[in-house]
């Protein structure tokens, strides 16, 4: 029965019956994929899928290359966004109601505690995985060949991750929130240390102005909570989404994930990849290779897709979904067993003792306990500047996409790990045992402490040692490995010290069980 002879209702009925097929077809635009050509089309024709290339290099699919770290960070962000949306149902950003709302979420709302834990832990896990992702990028030498600026965006994403976590920490308006806000706002005001020395604070109080803008006043109060809330739910998420969009977009423009120059044919070693299917679609059955497939690179390989690529559908998407489900399962399992902390209602008269920042800032708190300005602004600023400069100071093009570049790189990484750990433990041991200038000469001028304190010396040592590595090996790449390794070691050990080894009055204890009872 041809269309022209159908009645109106007949056509209607036929359309109704074929809705499933026609809707799916309109959604995927080219129907369910059956050949390599249509597998390509389904990616290219889909807004979300075309974030990926139609073809994916087999090296990208090697779990031992990427470790899935960037993807895990992204999925953690998605989980944090969704769980955060749920928390917003009950939360209200007023110092009178915020604490009760969070308590309600914890104790009254069904699965509220789990939801809050998921939000908290997915956010904090992001810090760990973003750092690990950075480490992967550094150690596989992937910050080169057009990717320099994407590394810069990555560092911006790291900072946004930290600030998002920190602002979230302040929202429950409990003791932890309040005293974190006090300390952070005073770190913002720390340039006062410098302006005081030069006697220009009354004319140019940059620290005081920053603090006032952050707090919306001179002391933490309703204005502060409003501003922190604004940052946490609008400005920073918008910022991180924008930066993430550019981050992904640039990865694609740079030809997908980094990979070594030479990847052996079919040496994928990845079990789950389905091999290219050279029939159907645009490939006539009697031909063995298709020159139509032009991708980056110069080696045509017979019966093998150009440059060891396979179709993203389903190879890449299967891998991504697997990473997602494991990430989600991990977060839920952790959140089921470990509760996010919630202390008493904020009390401006009694600080916690010890008053600790959230764990990811306890390394900085250790540095802050030498000098507020250097520990809170100077040293983190220099560390970030150092990270940003890595791709611009190391421009060696060899060994791209290879873990640790070569044997020498592995040795440098191990050596820098040991040297960095020794330096940071040594400086901590010295300060803990002997104190610093203020303990020896109470009247010493503050400028001396800003200029010479254990944090500065540590940073100076790290920079000097990486320069020494460059000189010894004649390779800036080795310097980059050394610098980043020492940065990571310092961050981890300082954080551990601040978290575990510091007790009441910021004094040293081997464990919390030795803290005095009071």
């Amino acid at each position: 029965m041809s269309n022209s002879t159908q009645t109106g209702l007949g056509k209607y009925k036929e359309n109704l019956l074929s809705i499933k097929k026609s809707f799916l077809g309109s959604f995927l635009r080219s129907g369910m994929p059956t050949s390599d050509k249509s597998r390509t089309a389904v990616v290219v024709n889909n807004f979300f899928l075309h974030l990926h290339g139609a073809k994916t290099h087999t090296n990208t699919l090697k779990p031992s290359y990427t470790l899935g770290l960037g993807l895990i960070s992204f999925f953690l962000l998605v989980i944090a966004f969704i769980s955060g949306g749920f928390l917003m149902v009950y939360y209200s950003p007023s110092i009178g109601t915020a604490f009760n709302a969070v308590k309600d979420i914890n104790f009254v709302v069904i699965s509220g505690k789990l939801m809050r834990n998921i939000h908290k832990w997915s956010g904090e896990a992001m810090i760990i995985f973003v750092l690990l992702h950075m480490a992967r990028v550094v150690y596989t030498n992937s910050y080169k060949r057009g990717r320099e600026f994407n590394w810069v965006i990555g560092v911006v994403l790291l900072i946004l991750t930290f600030v998002l976590n920190l602002t979230g920490y302040m929202l429950p308006w409990d003791q932890l929130s309040y005293w974190a806000l006090v300390i952070v706002s005073n770190i913002a005001a720390a340039p006062k240390e410098l302006t005081d020395i030069f006697g220009i604070t009354q004319y140019f109080d940059i620290g005081g102005a920053t603090k006032e803008v952050l707090l919306g006043g001179t002391a933490p109060g309703q204005n502060s909570l409003t501003r922190v809330y604004l940052l946490h739910i609008i400005l920073l998420p918008l910022g991180i989404c924008t930066a993430l969009g550019v981050h992904f977009w640039r990865v694609r423009k740079d030809g997908g994930l980094s990979k070594p120059d030479i990847v052996g044919d079919r040496e994928t070693g990845v079990a789950f990849i389905s091999p290219p299917q050279k029939t159907g679609g645009i490939f006539p059955t009697h031909k063995t290779y298709g020159l139509m497939e032009l991708a980056r690179g110069r080696t045509p390989a017979v019966d093998n897709d150009v440059e060891n690529t396979v179709t993203s559908w389903p190879n890449l998407f299967v891998a991504e979904i697997a990473v997602f489900i494991f990430t989600l399962a991990g977060v839920i399992a952790y959140s089921y067993f470990i509760d996010a902390p919630l202390k008493e209602f904020a009390n401006a008269a009694i600080p916690e003792n010890p008053a600790k920042a959230p764990w990811y800032f306890l390394g900085l708190q250790e540095l802050v306990s030498y000098s507020a300005f250097m520990g809170g602004q100077g040293l983190p600023g220099l560390a970030i500047a150092g990270l940003l400069l890595i791709p611009y100071l190391d421009r060696e093009q060899e060994h791209f996409g290879i873990w640790f570049s070569n044997r020498q790189g592995r040795m440098v990484a191990i050596e820098s790990f040991i040297v960095g750990a020794a330096a940071v433990i040594g400086s901590l041991a010295f300060v803990i045992n002997f104190g610093w200038f203020r303990n020896w000469w109470p009247k010493i001028h503050q400028l001396w402490i800003i200029a010479i304190n254990p944090g500065n010396l540590l940073l100076g040592f790290v920079v000097a040692y990486s320069l020494f590595v460059i000189k010894r090996t004649g390779s800036t790449r080795m310097g980059a490995i050394s610098l980043f390794t020492m940065f990571l070691v310092c961050y981890v050990i300082l954080t551990y010290t601040g978290t575990v080894l510091r007790g009441p009055n910021w004094e040293f204890y081997w464990s919390a069980s030795q803290w005095p009872i009071h």
Partner: protein, 157 residues
Amino acid sequence: MIKKTRNTEGVSRRDFLGLAAFGAAILGSIGVLAGSLRFVKADVYSEESKKFKIGKKENFPIGTTRKFDDKNVFIFSDDNGLFAISAICTHLGCIVSPSEFGFQCPCHGSRYDENGNVIGGPAPRPLEWYEINQEVDGTLFIDAGKAVPQGTKYLFA
């Protein structure tokens, strides 16, 4: 003659006007943004007054040590008079507590002697001393917005 006036300095009139317009657009936009940022800093915030009454001087016989918890100020009284010392650590704003050597901050371990001088830890400045005044009816009040030199003690009639 006409040629000379057109192209003497290398920038044509058209280019100059174009650049000037483009520059003005950028400068104007930056100016608007910078001006808008001023929005986030109010001239006055509705906050608690820094001045607060502490009662008559008879409440503070010689040897008194008292802390006004909600104001974070210590009041001391000795032979030379009354004096008020801030309880806010000059390092990062935690609240110090009295100890055997003077004051101790819990957050980053700053230590002060009994006059508020730093004797250890990261604090950059001594604790602030505040002005104490007397109302006409004899009530004393502290102005925590007004720092006075260390050692300023007040004797009231």
